[in-house]
Each structure stands twice: as structure tokens, then as C-alpha cells.
Amino acid sequence: MQTETKSKVEQISSSAGHPVSVLRFEGDIASTSKEAVLGAYQALSKETVKLILLDFTKVDYINSSGIALVIQLLIEASNAGQKVAAFGLSAHFTKVFTMVGITKYAGLNPDQATALAAL
């Protein structure tokens, strides 16, 4: 019943020329999304990848289990000294992410350009 989470990774550059890895998610993010969310993140090199964007533009539904996966990603990123920003959440899920405090560890932005500028 839940739409499978799809994820893909793209490499872009910040305006300062720094490499940025963008994790693009699609579908639902729930308890079954571990491989798509954490698996995609863990495939990144912790040595060379220091700036990460999370793209939620094509995500329809996130429940608290999905939010927990995002938090686990932020835990690992924090331990690896990586900086994370997110963009593309709907107004509602921006509110939900803010309620649980994720904004303390990852900025939430309306679009990719704004998120890149914030990194």
C-alpha cells in the first residue's frame, strides 16, 4: 500500500565550487524505506563527501518512522563531520520537521538553489 521509496544520488557543485552530493527521494518515506534512505546515504564516501543535500520534492508522504530514518542519517552525518541541508518539503512536512527539531541539525529550504546557498 505504501508507495516504494526511490532514491538516487547526483553530484553537483556549490557556487564556491565545492562538491555537493544530492540525495533525491521519491514516493513515501516510512519504515520500509531504510535501504532507500540510509542505504543511499551510506554508499557515499565519508572521507570525500562533506556537503549533502536531501531532496524531498517528489516525496508524497512521510511518517514518524520515515522521520526517524532521516534522523539516523543526520546522526551518521554529524559523526562524519558532514553538513546536511534539505529542500522541497511541503509546507505541512516543513512544519512537522520543525516540530520534531530537525532544523537544529539540517536547514530546511524551499528549493535546491536556496539549499545550496545555505550549505
Partner: protein, 136 residues
């Protein structure tokens, strides 16, 4: 509905349809959808322990100025509510990253009440969202 993850979407869309007909604004409908999703997931995972043979009941009562929802499972109910989630503790590994469902429910609706069923069955959570007062 069956105690199978994913079926919370049925309750979400049904509640959203009723709320729209009642005149709730879209932001409030989104709040309700997330709250009912979390309530159903709790019923499926914790109340009914993902037992496919058990059902989760969802009752909707559209009143004049409020929508009441009950999500019913065959669990024993909650004896105490979990503490408010702490993102700093979660990030530092001092708290499970999970466990935000009940917090979100309370934050997104006007009333949330957890009721343990008699004889350790048919526990439910009761959610209430109220319509905004009409503009004068």
C-alpha cells in the same frame, strides 16, 4: 481495516474527504492526515502487533463544528504517555530516533485521548479537530 502497514492511507484519505466536506482549511486537513496516520500505525504496530488477523477500527464522527476520530485496536492501551522527544538526545545517541508518533498526534490535533480498553482489549485513541470559528 487489516493490521498491515500502508492501510493507514485509507484512513487518511477518508478522514481528509470528510474534513474537506466539513469545510476545514487545507492546512488543518494535512494536520489531521498525519495525526490519523500515526494513530493507525501505532494501532497496527503496537496495539495489534502487526497481526494480520486483527483489525484496526476507525470511526469518524462529523459534528457541527468538530470532527472526532477514534482509532481502535485490540491492544491493552497505553499506561503512560512517553516523554516528549528530544532531538538533541536522538542525535547524540541518548534516545531512540523513533517514538515521535504520539508527540505528533498531540501537536497536530485539538484533543487527543488514549483510552485503555476493558479486559485488555479494544483500546482506542480519540482525536478531535475543531473547525475555525467563522470570520466576523
Amino acid at each position: 481495516m487489516p493490521s498491515r502497514l500502508g492501510y493507514e492511507k485509507v484512513a487518511m484519505s477518508t478522514a481528509a474527504s470528510v474534513a474537506k466536506l466539513m469545510g476545514f482549511r487545507q492546512e488543518r486537513i494535512e494536520d489531521l492526515k498525519t495525526a490519523i496516520a500515526e494513530a493507525c500505525i501505532n494501532a497496527i504496530e503496537h496495539g495489534n502487533k502487526l497481526n494480520d488477523g486483527l483489525q484496526v477500527g476507525v470511526l469518524l464522527n462529523a459534528g457541527e463544528d468538530a470532527l472526532e476520530i477514534k482509532v481502535i485496536d485490540d491492544g491493552r492501551g497505553m499506561k503512560t504517555l512517553p516523554p516528549r522527544p528530544d532531538i538533541d538526545k536522538k542525535i547524540h545517541g541518548e534516545e531512540d530516533p523513533r517514538g515521535m508518533g504520539m508527540f505528533l498526534i498531540q501537536a497536530l490535533v485539538d484533543e487527543a485521548e488514549w483510552v485503555a480498553g476493558a479486559n485488555g482489549k479494544s483500546s482506542y485513541v480519540r482525536l478531535v479537530v475543531r473547525l475555525d470559528p467563522p470570520n466576523e
